[in-house]
Amino acid sequence: MQVDSHNARLEMMKILIATALFPPDVAPVAVYTKELAQRLATTHEVHILAYGRFPEQVPGVAITTVSKRHPLPTRLVLFLIALMRHARHADRIVIENGASVELPALFAALLTQKPYILHRGDRTVPTSRMRVLIERVAQRYARRIIINLPTPRPERLPFAALTEETETSYERSWQAHIRELEDALAYA
């Protein structure tokens, strides 16, 4: 079983990651998604679909954006269209939680019959009933739900060197996270 899992991880997949936040956004989940794309791109073909206009680039990763400057209904429809277009070419879809991604992802899954893996990177509790409902439905239809977040990247500071232990623990947490995600992707 371990060997199978390892081989599945090594197989190159076309992965679409849909997210509401991506740098230059500063929220932790934006920083996480960029790092995730960077790491997955070493073995897979990665495409990011994010809200925004001028995303920070990741070598070897294609990025499509939908502007947030449109009123909410318009941007949701534009995101859905983009999601459906790119989902056709993807082997696996990973979505970062949040109503503005979950809602289009639900429609896209229904229309394209492509399942998705839901990552709950943003732990903010939804404030409206509608958001709670969308979150519940999105979780129900997700093929897998991943809740773990790796340790945030430790900052390099000019007056204090990073300890080896901090760097190692950061690397380990990412390796474990990628392993969990690749296993989910392999069997989704």
């Binding site: 740098p23 500063v26 400057r69 009123p71 941007r75 007056f159």
Partner: protein
């Protein structure tokens, strides 16, 4: 005495006499020494944000030491109202994960033709620049992170903040930069023309890089005399200079300021950006530093016609010094330490005694 200075002194004395009686009736006592209305204060005006004439006074009240901002000038009144509104809205922005601390408001009054804003004086144990550079670094970085955490990205965010703080995008910056350069060429004919052409070219060619980091809350005059530190907390003294724009606009102003006042802190902060932020951020910061330097040169160039004697010579020296810094930044290098030291010597020799008093403990 030059017209601009004479005009300011006339305004200041009349305003002070009028304000003193009103403030006394309200239970405030003004200090005998008022350093913030002395020296080069008459030359201070913002180039890019709403600003008018006002007096900044020190005083006391039953609640303790206070800072009083008072004005009868319509632009000054607008500025005080705007600043108050910024302070209020800042507390309400839902998409801001962190906010600044503000000194407690004791009074805001608009009567007898005067607008008066009184806040508690924030007593700081030490001036910012007297602290250890490690502490300066930690405090500054925390403040910039707090600003960056307020990011207006959606249509709804912009509708909420635009009316209060104002916002600027890459095209707005390019228009302003062109205005600065035209003004510099008008006021200071001997200034290096090719250098400003290169700045404009670099800036316009990288329009998208500027736009990429727009939409962030930024304090355009984030320098030590606009904040005070008490019990490890930073209190923002000037809220009127907050707007939504390129997130490195505030960084750039601060770093350029530290080129002169504390190069060690400047280096620590640039090291941090280089090692922790994306290459795009690094480029955006470099571009905004060019922008803010051009703005500063424009500011001093515009003062050449308003000054005379030692102050005129000092203003001319400032135009040349900041042009040297700009030339260095354009080549992505630090200005030579000998240039900084020579400028400091000239500045100290040419500053008036009143201005020297105003500078004590300011930063």
């Amino acid at each position: 005495m030059h017209n601009a200075e004479a005009e300011w002194k006339e305004y200041r004395d009349a305003e002070l006499a009028r304000a003193t009686s009103v403030l006394t009736a309200l239970g405030f006592t003004l200090d005998a020494e008022q350093p913030h209305i002395q020296g080069e204060r008459f030359l201070m005006h913002a180039l890019t944000t709403k600003s008018g004439r006002k007096l900044i006074l020190r005083g006391s009240h039953a609640r303790g030491r206070v800072i009083i901002k008072v004005t009868s000038d319509p632009d000054g009144k607008r500025e005080l109202r705007h600043e108050r509104e910024c302070r209020r809205v800042l507390d309400e922005i839902r998409f801001a994960y962190g906010i600044f601390r503000s000194p407690e408001e004791i009074l805001f009054s608009e009567s007898n033709g005067l607008t008066i804003s009184v806040t508690l004086f924030i007593d700081q144990e030490q001036a910012f620049l007297d602290r250890a550079v490690e502490e300066q670094f930690a405090l500054t970085l925390a403040a910039f992170k707090a600003q960056e955490s307020a990011h207006a990205t959606t249509y709804e965010h912009y509708r909420l903040v635009e009316g209060t703080f104002g916002s600027i995008d890459a095209d707005g910056y390019i228009r302003s930069l062109r205005g600065f350069i035209t003004s510099i060429r008008t006021h200071a004919l001997d200034t290096r023309t090719e250098m400003f052409t290169a700045v404009e070219q670099q800036f316009t060619e990288n329009r998208d890089r500027i736009e990429q980091y727009c939409g962030f809350l930024t304090h355009v005059d984030f320098v030590p005399h606009n904040f005070r530190i008490h019990d490890g907390n930073m209190y923002l003294l000037d809220h009127s200079s907050l707007r939504f724009g390129n997130k490195h606009e505030g960084w750039a102003r601060f770093l350029n300021f530290m080129t002169l006042h504390n190069p060690a802190l400047e280096h620590a902060l640039t090291w941090y950006v280089e090692h922790n932020r994306s290459p795009e951020e690094w480029e955006s910061l470099a571009l905004m530093r060019l922008y803010r330097l051009t703005e500063l040169i424009c500011f001093y160039a515009s003062l050449l016609s308003k000054t005379e004697g030692d102050l005129h010579r000092l203003t001319k020296t400032r135009v040349h010094f900041w042009s040297d810094v700009l030339a260095a930044r354009l080549e992505n290098r630090d200005v030579d330490a000998s240039i900084i030291n020579a400028y400091r010597d000239t500045r100290d020799a040419l500053r008036s005694p009143e201005e020297k008093r105003r500078q004590i403990g300011l930063h």
